[in-house]
């Protein structure tokens, strides 16, 4: 029978905490940029201009057809040379920067589809009503359609954020240390890998599961 040894966990907590901050930072940036960019792409996809909507469709289908791990690696290989071409050597950790870019662009493709469905769920009559009051198409979108669409999409957007939170663990492939990376390395060093990964899994579970409970409550509130 395997003898569990939990003794190295208390000592590792400060590192794990630091890792969790890194995880949350990547998650947060990807959510914010992903939703902003996703909204733009969703509106491009709904555009009557064929060129614009095809470009957007290409973006969405492209990112959704590639494994996230590969996107991460690609951007890790591409972003540094791109950045140094633009501004010389950045002061920021290049791995973190490429993780930000990769996650934001990748998530934008998923958010774009959620947002597009949300926009389409707002009835055409609402658009007519906005236009009939003298609003421009842009004003109607911003003041009438998007606020309603986001309200309806909120549960889905949050669910996507929970998936994203878990997916950030993949940055270990580019050697970036976040929560999972710290857990893995500490466990490896102290020979308590199993315990450390069990603990990390439990933390992921508690955070993700409480968040999804929150989403469910919110959903119930929104539909009542």
């Amino acid at each position: 029978m395997y003898e569990f040894d939990w003794s190295s966990i208390p000592g590792a907590l400060p590192f794990l905490w630091q890792g969790m901050m890194q995880t949350l930072q990547i998650t947060f940036v990807a959510i914010v940029v992903g939703i902003l960019l996703g909204t733009l792409i969703a509106m491009m996809r709904l555009s009557k201009n064929q060129v614009i909507s095809t470009l957007a469709a290409f973006y969405v289908n492209g990112f959704r057809s590639i494994p996230l791990v590969m996107v991460l690696l690609w951007f890790y290989l591409l972003v540094p040379s791109f950045i140094s071409m633009l501004i010389g050597h950045p002061s920021m950790d290049i791995r973190l920067l490429s993780a930000f870019v990769a996650f934001a662009l990748f998530e934008a493709s998923y958010y774009a589809e959620i947002i597009r469905a949300g926009i389409q769920s707002v009835s055409g009559g609402q658009i007519s009503a906005g236009l009939a009051l003298g609003m421009t198409r842009r004003q109607t979108m911003r003041l009438i359609v998007l606020p309603q669409a986001f309200r309806r999409m909120l549960p889905l957007l949050l669910t996507q954020a929970i998936i994203l939170f878990q997916d950030t663990s993949l940055v270990y492939v580019i050697g970036l240390r976040e929560f999972f990376g710290y857990a893995y390395n500490t466990g490896n060093r102290d020979g308590t890998l199993v315990e450390m990964l069990l603990f990390a899994g439990a933390v992921y579970f508690v955070i993700s599961f409480s968040a999804s409970l929150l989403v469910r409550t919110l959903q119930a509130k929104l539909t009542s």
Binding site: Q126, S128, A132, T136, I144
Partner: protein
């Protein structure tokens, strides 16, 4: 005020409007009726550019609706429209429904917009509901808010697209009462409706449409008293046989 000249419109190969022409002068109330699918809603939506038409011309206060250089948003801000399904903005409170376009389109200050909104809510007898959301109101109340929302823009004319046909019978009167009051105050109105009682009470003229054509366009008394075409007689007998 509103001048419709030989307007035609197609959905693909199907012609929904055939050479429709009519005039609505300042202060006039014109009721448009006809069987479903006759093109009456499409015609009224052409007046403020919600539907495009392929042939003909529509002038609203001497501005051509279909012309390329026309600022449609500006035109729309001067013509109020009331929809069959109300189309209140569900994420905004009643009072905000009335102020949003005043502020964002006309550039009115918040205070001015609020005062205007309060006055109009009082007119439609809904002052106590100002802070509610549309979903908390009955259909009749929602439609009265929608009328107030359109009036908040100080329109030069009002278009009504079957304003009572989505309402339960007991709520129709409260909406019609508001419309009658508007008509009596001299508002220029174009009303698509089957409410012949309303037409008898306040309309100046009645237009009868069928298969995309304006079949009859006659003064109210003439329309109701003397028999017109077979088609309008048939239609009238159908919708009046139960309402008396």
């Amino acid at each position: 005020m509103i001048s419709i000249k030989k307007v035609s419109k197609w959905y693909g190969a199907f012609q929904v409007l055939k050479q429709c022409s009519t005039e609505v002068s300042r202060g006039e109330v014109v009721v448009v009726c006809g069987p479903s699918g006759s093109g009456k809603s499409t015609l009224i939506k052409c007046v403020n550019g919600l539907e495009v038409f392929e042939e003909g011309e529509i002038l609203v206060d001497d501005v051509s609706v279909g012309a390329r250089h026309t600022n449609l948003s500006k035109l729309c801000s001067r013509v109020g429209m009331v929809f069959q399904h109300f189309e209140l903005f569900p994420h905004l409170r009643v009072i905000q429904n009335l102020t949003i376009a005043q502020c964002k389109v006309l550039g009115r200050g918040k205070q001015e917009a609020l005062e205007k909104a309060a006055k109009l809510l009082e007119m439609v007898d809904l002052s106590e509901h100002a802070q509610k959301f549309p979903a908390q109101l009955s259909g009749g109340q929602q439609q009265r808010v929608a009328i107030a929302r359109a009036l908040a823009m100080d329109p030069i004319a009002m278009l009504f697209d079957e304003p009572t046909s989505a309402l339960d019978p007991e709520m129709i009167k409260e909406v019609l009462d508001v419309m009658v009051k508007l008509a009596q105050e001299g508002m220029t109105m174009m009303v698509v409706t089957h409410e012949m009682g309303f037409a008898r009470e306040v309309a100046n003229r009645v237009i009868f449409m069928d298969h995309g054509e304006i079949v009859e366009d006659r003064p109210k008394l003439d329309f109701f008293e003397s028999p017109g075409t077979d088609r309008s007689q048939q239609f009238l007998s159908k919708i009046l046989s139960h309402s008396g």
